[in-house]
């Protein structure tokens, strides 16, 4: 009996008990003179029975499944030969894994080692006992719950209140999931990052200028310790983000101004969705375009005027990233520009200003906080953007402000450190989490400021 079947069975029981509870409520009502005699609707009574039936049983299944692995692993200890126990905790863990794999691939019969075979059989045994116990327990609880609830179907039972309390609890827990996610992010990143900072000092990480995260396989190897100075990554990220903003802000802002102030309705109706398409294109597509079309083109242009352009130049990645962010800047600025009250424009026109003067001297200053907020959000996006830089920017951690050279970014390094083979304890993989922590803190900081500014601005004109 697999867990999935049990799960579905419990839910099926719940549905059945809903139907039964409802019909039971009808028959109870008949005895007391119609449905009006009941406190709640018959369907509420049905719901009550279903919840009493399924919820405890499901809770038991889930908690059982969480506890089960460690419990079985402990009970397996007795079946493991003493020689392995003497080898320490790691050896036992390895042995258990081995047995687990053998059982999973159904190869018990082919095991030639008698002790191993014994342990494997014990594991199979334990597993089937556990499954049976869970099955019996879950079904008993489900049926008992339903029976208990069925006895409660009386005219004076406030079934609706009971059901609604459960539903409301569900709603609250769903809403709180957002907090749980944030806590999960903070803890997972922080936990691994502190482990990293125990090996590599925090100061070395934020002030070091040499980044080469290769850690040696043997301790006596040449260059055994990698160096984890993240300054080149921060500078690279800043350089690329700066180039991106250099493209995105003027183009995005001017597009927004044109769309909000000048464009006729048909132009607006065509141009806006087109810009939205630009926003909806996956970043991996931009990355592909940057790496295989823009970068070679820049390189050949550079060569023709005698400049040496790296094939993974910061310029290519930054420019394409800027184009990706144009719609983001433009739609945010569009919102704030249209939120500026018409009376302010009318006042400016009344004093004889032209349209562009009105925009420059009245509308933009009035909308400035909102625009700044939008730009800050865009910066945070540029810093956190991954695929474009992974595909188009380099891996070499150069410290340069020359946009024609290759630089690397925080996100590129996170991806490179964590893809491919990894053991989870090396400083190399832990460094990725330290970089992730930096990324999270910086973007969070930018977002909080930006959201605060935008919200404050909105209140001003509402």
């Amino acid at each position: 009996m697999s867990t999935t079947t049990l799960f579905l069975l419990t839910i099926g029981l719940g549905i059945a008990s809903y139907a039964y509870g409802r019909s039971r409520a009808y028959s109870v009502a008949k005895r007391h003179g119609g449905v009006r005699a009941l406190h709640s609707l018959p369907s509420h009574y049905g719901m009550m029975v279903a919840l009493w039936c399924a919820l405890p049983a499901l809770a038991i299944i889930i908690s059982w499944k969480i506890i089960e692995p460690s419990l079985i692993s402990n009970m397996l200890d007795s079946a493991i030969p003493q020689a392995i126990h003497d080898g320490g905790v790691e050896a036992v863990k390895l042995y258990k894994n081995d047995i687990g794999n053998l059982v999973d691939s159904e190869k018990i019969a082919s095991i030639d080692n008698a002790e191993k075979k014994l342990a494997a059989e014990r594991l199979t045994n334990l597993r089937s006992t556990s499954a049976l116990a869970l099955f019996v327990l879950a079904l008993t609880v489900a049926i008992a719950g339903a029976a208990l609830a069925l006895r409660k179907i009386k005219p004076e039972t406030r079934a609706r209140h009971k059901v609604e309390r459960v539903v409301k609890f569900f709603l609250i827990s769903c809403a709180s999931l957002a907090i749980l996610t944030t806590i999960g992010i903070v803890f997972s990143v922080l936990f691994e990052a502190t482990r990293f900072f125990q090996e590599v000092g925090f100061l070395e990480f934020v002030t070091g200028t040499k980044w080469s995260p290769q850690t040696a396989i043997r301790a006596d190897q040449v260059g055994a310790s990698g160096s984890f100075g993240a300054v080149p990554l921060f500078l690279g990220t800043l350089l690329i983000s700066f180039i991106a903003m250099l493209v995105a802000v003027p183009f995005g802002l001017m597009s927004a101004i044109y769309l909000a102030e000048y464009a006729s309705r048909p132009v607006r109706n065509i141009a806006k969705p087109l810009l939205e398409i630009l926003a909806g294109i996956p970043t991996v597509v931009y990355g592909f375009f940057a790496a295989l079309t823009v970068a070679p083109a820049l390189r050949s242009v550079g060569e023709s005027i005698g400049l040496s352009v790296s094939s993974e130049s910061a310029l290519a990645a930054g420019a394409v990233m800027g184009i990706m962010i144009i719609p983001f800047v433009s739609s945010l600025s569009d919102d704030v520009i249209t939120a500026v009250p018409q009376s302010m424009r009318d006042g400016s026109y009344g004093l004889g200003a032209t349209k562009s003067e009105t925009v420059r001297k009245v509308v933009i200053p009035a909308a400035l906080p909102g625009i700044v907020g939008g730009v800050l959000l865009a910066v945070s996006r540029a810093i956190g953007e991954t695929m474009i830089v992974v595909m188009a920017a380099g891996l070499a951690a150069n410290m340069t402000a020359n946009p024609l050279e290759a630089v690397t970014t925080v996100t590129v390094q996170i991806v490179t450190l964590l893809t491919g083979d990894q053991e989870f304890d090396s400083a190399k993989t832990l460094a990725a989490f330290a970089l992730g922590l930096m990324l999270f803190v910086v973007t969070l900081f930018l977002n909080i400021i930006a959201l605060h500014v935008v919200r404050k601005y909105r209140e001003q004109y509402e």
Binding site: C174, A178, M254, Y258, F288, S356, V415, L451
Partner: protein
């Protein structure tokens, strides 16, 4: 001071204004021009991007075949005529195909030349041959004319140039000799370009001509399924709570600020969360759509919650008051009246959120969905990759034929995204009500 003086000074002002007017109008025109330039540059870029991808990707939808007379005698295949399907797998298909090529070009004798000759046919032709024989056992012992899949290099020159008579002008890794054979085949009408079915039914492969996107497509489908089943109910429940029931207190404030911030957290950070929590802590399988789906649903939740709240807010309070007046409980007001009215808006937001999830790559790299997947995944716990990650993987491949595969995969991805967005727009247009 006389009125004359005043007149003179006012006419001087007029002069000055007039003189400055031209400048101001010019500035006005320039300003407007900047706007037009900005917007047309953005749109031009969009078309440039699309054009470059479509022009690169279109050739991938056709496949080149070579017609060969293959002799499928049992002894050449080195099998028993009564062999079972699994025994057939060991048959000497490559020998048969090589023999057919030697028969077609009898004057090729040197070993090196022969090898060059064989390389014109894809290794996939052997599997194709196996499939045909399993489907029709009577083929054994016959001489048949078969269309076999050509190698990607041959395919590339055939597709790029319909006439191979000027081999010098072709940029290819093939030797002149090979191009000569290709021309010979083409002149005889033994080369054909057909619709590339392989691309839609195969998984990934090291050979570009055999690589397909079905594994990635199925992976994307499974991942999106998980994302939808998790994020939709949770997001709707959160939105209902925050919009309809939440008291104005500190906790609600914290939740709201949290959701807004999560919407702007870089996607790669969610990948780190998935790696640390779901894979290293809960030991869920790596590379599996279930983990990808969970991570993506955490990522899309804020988007869906925010748009669902907007949809719920748009339902006028009079509806709620009327339902309350008729004796509905607060929960009944929501489930019977507000939610159905807000549903189109909620669905629109959900589809847009899912479209975002479909195009997402970075967090999936973190949880190991960047794998070489040949087998089509059949469940949410199988190792899988998704369409954007497949694009990422192929973009890294050195073979030129993978370039067109990448573009083609992007085209498929974009078609799905455009479809989803079109459905969202349609829903909004059709069901949106203004009170």
């Amino acid at each position: 001071m006389s009125s004359l003086d005043q007149k003179a000074s006012s006419s001087a002002t007029t002069e000055r204004v007039k003189a400055s007017l031209r400048k101001r109008y010019a500035a006005e025109k320039r300003f407007k021009l900047y706007g037009i330039v900005a917007i047309s540059a953005s749109i031009a870029f969009l078309f440039l991007l699309m054009g470059s991808i479509i022009s690169k990707g279109l050739p991938a939808f056709s496949q080149t075949y070579v017609n060969l007379n293959v002799s499928l005698s049992a002894e050449q295949l080195d099998i028993d005529p009564t062999a079972t399907d699994s025994e057939l797998r060991r048959a000497n298909f490559s020998g048969v195909i090589k023999q057919a090529m030697r028969d077609r070009f009898p004057d090729v004798s040197k070993r090196r030349d022969k090898k060059a000759l064989y390389s014109l046919i894809s290794t996939g032709a052997e599997y194709d041959l196996y499939d045909r024989i399993v489907a029709d056992r009577s083929l054994i012992g016959q001489n048949v004319n078969l269309w076999l899949i050509a190698d990607d290099e041959l395919s590339a020159i055939v597709k790029s140039k319909s006439d191979l008579s000027a081999p010098d002008s072709i940029v290819t890794r093939l030797t002149d000799q090979q191009v000569g054979w290709a021309k010979n085949l083409q002149d005889a009408g033994d080369v054909d370009v057909r619709f590339n079915r392989t691309f839609f039914v195969n998984g990934d492969s090291r050979e570009p001509e055999l690589a397909g996107i079905k594994a990635a497509l199925m992976g994307s489908a499974f991942t999106l399924l998980i994302t939808f089943t998790l994020s939709f109910p949770i997001a709707v429940a959160s939105a209902i709570y925050l919009e309809e029931f939440a008291p104005q207190n500190r906790w609600t404030d914290i939740v709201e600020v949290n959701i807004n911030n999560l919407a702007a957290v870089p996607s790669i950070v969610f990948g780190l969360l998935g790696l640390a929590v779901f894979i290293n802590f809960f030991h869920l399988p790596r590379s599996a759509p279930i983990v990808g789906g969970i991570v993506l649903s955490l990522m899309t939740l804020p988007t869906i919650i925010i748009s669902s709240r907007a949809a719920l807010k748009a339902v006028p309070p009079s509806i709620r008051e009327a339902a309350r007046g008729l004796g509905a409980s607060p929960l009944q007001v929501v489930t019977h009246h507000v939610l159905p009215l807000a549903m189109p808006g909620i669905l629109t937001g959900t589809i847009i959120g899912l479209a975002q999830a479909l195009g997402e790559t970075a967090p999936l790299l973190m949880i190991g969905m960047v794998a070489f997947i040949v087998d089509i995944p059949t469940s949410v716990t199988d190792a899988a990759t998704v369409l954007p990650v497949q694009v990422f993987l192929w973009a890294d491949s050195p073979e030129r034929a993978f370039l067109e595969k990448t573009s083609a995969a992007i085209m498929v991805l974009l078609v799905f995204l455009i479809l989803m967005n079109a459905i969202a727009v349609m829903l909004r247009k059709r069901f949106e009500r203004r009170w």
